[in-house]
Symmetry: C2
Subunit: 321 residues, 2 copies
Amino acid sequence: MTRVCVTGGAGFIGSNLADRLQAQGCEVVVVDNISTGRREFLNDLLKRPGCELVEGNILDQDLLERAFTGCDWVFHLQANADVRYGLDHPTLDLEQNTVATSRVLEAMRATGVRRIVFSSTGSIYGEPTVFPTPEDAPFPVQTSLYGASKLACEGLISAYATGYDFTAVICRFVSILGERYTHGHVFDFYCSLKRDPTHLRVLGDGKQEKSYLYVQDCVAAILTAVENHADEPGSHIYNLGTDETVVVDNSIGVITDYLGVTPAIEHTGGHRGWVGDSPLILLDTARIRGLGWKPQVSIRDAVVRTLDWFEANEYAWRNQS
Amino acid sequence: MTRVCVTGGAGFIGSNLADRLQAQGCEVVVVDNISTGRREFLNDLLKRPGCELVEGNILDQDLLERAFTGCDWVFHLQANADVRYGLDHPTLDLEQNTVATSRVLEAMRATGVRRIVFSSTGSIYGEPTVFPTPEDAPFPVQTSLYGASKLACEGLISAYATGYDFTAVICRFVSILGERYTHGHVFDFYCSLKRDPTHLRVLGDGKQEKSYLYVQDCVAAILTAVENHADEPGSHIYNLGTDETVVVDNSIGVITDYLGVTPAIEHTGGHRGWVGDSPLILLDTARIRGLGWKPQVSIRDAVVRTLDWFEANEYAWRNQS
């Protein structure tokens, strides 16, 4: 692996992955439109020889072809990653995730790049009936437009793997925490408490159980899967998560303790934070563990590292929420 | 149910469904671009009061909204239904199936129609590991762009059912045979033998096992599901098929016997007719049978009825293949 492309490489997970790939000796081409991604996250990377930012629209196939030329792998992390607001703009996930992934695959065909890593999501399991949920869980019914769009991406990628001998590593993430984290529960709670430490509004009943994974553990898992399947065409599908879960109210406790605040907690009620929210996410990670990977950081420590990073990088959250 | 829309209503299954709905007393609006559909299939329907053809592009949301206004149900049967040639035009299934379904769903939201029937496919099970394959089979890996696109449609529809309280009946078909059948194995074999009765080229080893369902049995199953779930928002997913399978070489035997020809059979070899072809399709139909439906016509008789229809309707196959 000498030259790789990371789409969404200025984003939270993408930029951490890009840095790690560079540290391992890769030239890294980042494709990003710097909408949710941040230029600041590329400050170090772009000083390195052979690394570059191709700034533009993921739907622009010519741009993708320029970026992919000469690459061994495409790490396709660009996405509309907002699961919560899908119903407010019901064609956005289709365009930014499904159609975008088709463009990425076509640009790969055009440039002869045949290895792809895809960031999928535990949301594709809908409301699972089996916990922890394995990769071959019973055929799920989609409950969110985000999950539906990621499932559609997986289907496209696997069909390309079968039809055009692509090597595809598909990673189904739980929520990820850590340095450069810029949206989701912990972000929202932190920003809210910074504005008003006396009061916190929590969607749902606060008892939703979520699993989180530390971003560096996530990056390590991706690279473990990549190393194991570099020359093995077909679809290689892995859940990425920890064996822990945390109840939303408890993660709030970590944040309020950290900040030394004691807000009144207002629960909006119901078992779900929003329509399509899953009351419990816990993935079976036996398959990726079978390759020798295991997470190094607990959920609690991942929350704390995230908060440490917020404290040291006010630019990343001030006026963002 | 008084007024309904059938997309793809000039097609094979769609036109049979449209006729049956009309016979049950519905006003039927057909949306079709008359590309693979045939005007001849609408000859009877369009003489009936309140029935009309809205001719145009399924991607034209304004046209869809005109067609859907005042309807109780949308039967969304329009599709690029060609599983075999997906790799020759790898964005066609995405556009004609996935994006088209998004347009249909958005047009439904805009016009307040909240009930949809969707024609999905057993191809979404990829290469199943369980036979007969139930609706909650282990999470499949897609092997064709057609299957991937239909899976994407199912995901969108289920997410709309969750998010916007739609009632969705999703039917996963095996291959369908019968009157107005105009593409697939039996069509290809018949046309080939009409051109040259001495020789027949068969993709694969001829031992692929397929399940077929007679079109009127298919229509009856759809309407059974619709009657059972008319006022039940959510996703209702049914396999439609018979408990029989037929080996490709044996279905050829039925055709050659019917035509009284004895061609030399040339097998192109391999277990699959094409990349992404499934060596065995057999769906578990216990769920739809549980509603009281069962097929009335055997696979053999469905093949014969198809051939009878070809003999009586030369316009439908001459110069078409």
